[in-house]
Symmetry: C2
Subunit: 130 residues, 2 copies
DNA sequence: CCTTGACCTTCCCGTTACTGGAACCTCTAT
DNA sequence: ATAGAGGTTCCAGTAACGGGAAGGTCAAGG
C-alpha cells in the first residue's frame, strides 16, 4: 500500500511517516518505482506509534516501547516503568500549568479590561506588589 | 552592570539575555571594551520578561506586553485580551494532559509490572480492546 | 611585568517532532 | 499528449534557548 493509504489508516500524516522512516522507527519496503510499500505489519507499527504519541510518549520512549512490544519475552515491568516515568512527567507539567492558570485567572479577573491604562496584570509582571 | 549581574538580579541566564538582545527585546548599552552594560531600566525590563515567561507567555506575547507596558496610554483591555487568550491555551493544554494522565494512570494501575510479558499497556498501544 | 582565573565577546550547532515548500518523477485517465 | 494526483528527495524553519569553541579583557597576586 502507498503512503497515503498508510497515512489514512494509521492516522499519521505522510510527512510524519517519512520522518519515522528517517529515524528508523519503520522500514517499509520499496516498490520498483521507488514508492514506499507498506504491509499490514508496518501499518500495525504505525498505529502503535500513533497511539503512543497520542498519549504523549516521546519518540525515544516510542522506540523503546516498540522494542518491548516486539519482544515476546519482555517483562511487563519494563513497559510499566516507562509509562510510570512518563506519567510522573505529565503530572509535573500539569502542576506547573495549573499554577500558571491560577495566577492568570486571578489577574484576568482583577483587570477591568477597559480603555484605561491601569492594569493589575502589568503591575504583576512589573513585580509590583499586589 | 555586566551581564552576569544582570542575570543574577533578573533571574535569567546570561545566554537568555543575549538571546533577548538578539531578537530585539532589550538593547543594553555597550561599554568601551565591548561588554554589554545594563542599567536599571534594562534590569526592570528583564525582570518583566522573566515574570511573563514564568507565566508561560510566548516571546511574541512578551514583546506585545512589553510594548503595552511602555505605553502609558495603553488600554488595559489590550493587556487583558492577551492574558485571556493565553489562559485559554493553558486550559486547553491542561485538559489534554489530564486526559493523558487518566489513561496512563489507568494503564499503569492495571499493569502487573513483573517479569511476565502480558501487559495491558502494550495491549492498549497496540489498539487491542481493553 | 607576567600569569592566572574569571569574565566577556561572537559564532555555530543541537535540541523536539515535525511541517512547508521546491524540484522533480510516476501513474492513470482522457 | 496532457492533466492531475500521487510519489520521491532535500533543504529550511519552527520555539526558546543551551553547549561549547575560539578568542579578547580585567583584576589580583607573585
Amino acid at each position: 500500500m502507498n503512503i497515503k493509504d498508510a497515512a489514512e489508516k494509521s492516522g499519521l500524516p505522510p510527512k510524519t511517516i517519512r520522518y519515522y522512516e528517517d529515524i528508523g522507527l519503520v522500514t517499509p519496503d520499496r516498490a520498483a518505482n521507488g514508492y514506499r510499500d507498506f504491509d499490514v505489519a508496518h501499518l500495525h507499527k504505525l498505529t502503535f506509534l500513533a497511539q503512543a504519541r497520542g498519549l504523549g510518549f516521546s519518540i525515544e520512549d516510542c522506540r523503546n516501547l516498540l522494542a518491548l512490544w516486539e519482544d515476546q519475552d519482555r517483562a511487563s515491568g519494563d513497559v510499566r516503568a516507562i509509562a510510570k516515568q512518563h506519567l510522573a512527567e505529565i503530572e509535573n507539567k500539569i502542576a506547573g500549568l495549573q499554577a500558571m492558570r491560577e495566577t492568570l485567572a486571578d489577574l484576568v479577573h482583577c483587570c477591568a479590561g477597559d480603555d484605561r491604562p491601569d492594569c493589575p496584570i502589568i503591575d504583576r509582571l512589573q513585580g509590583k506588589a499586589q
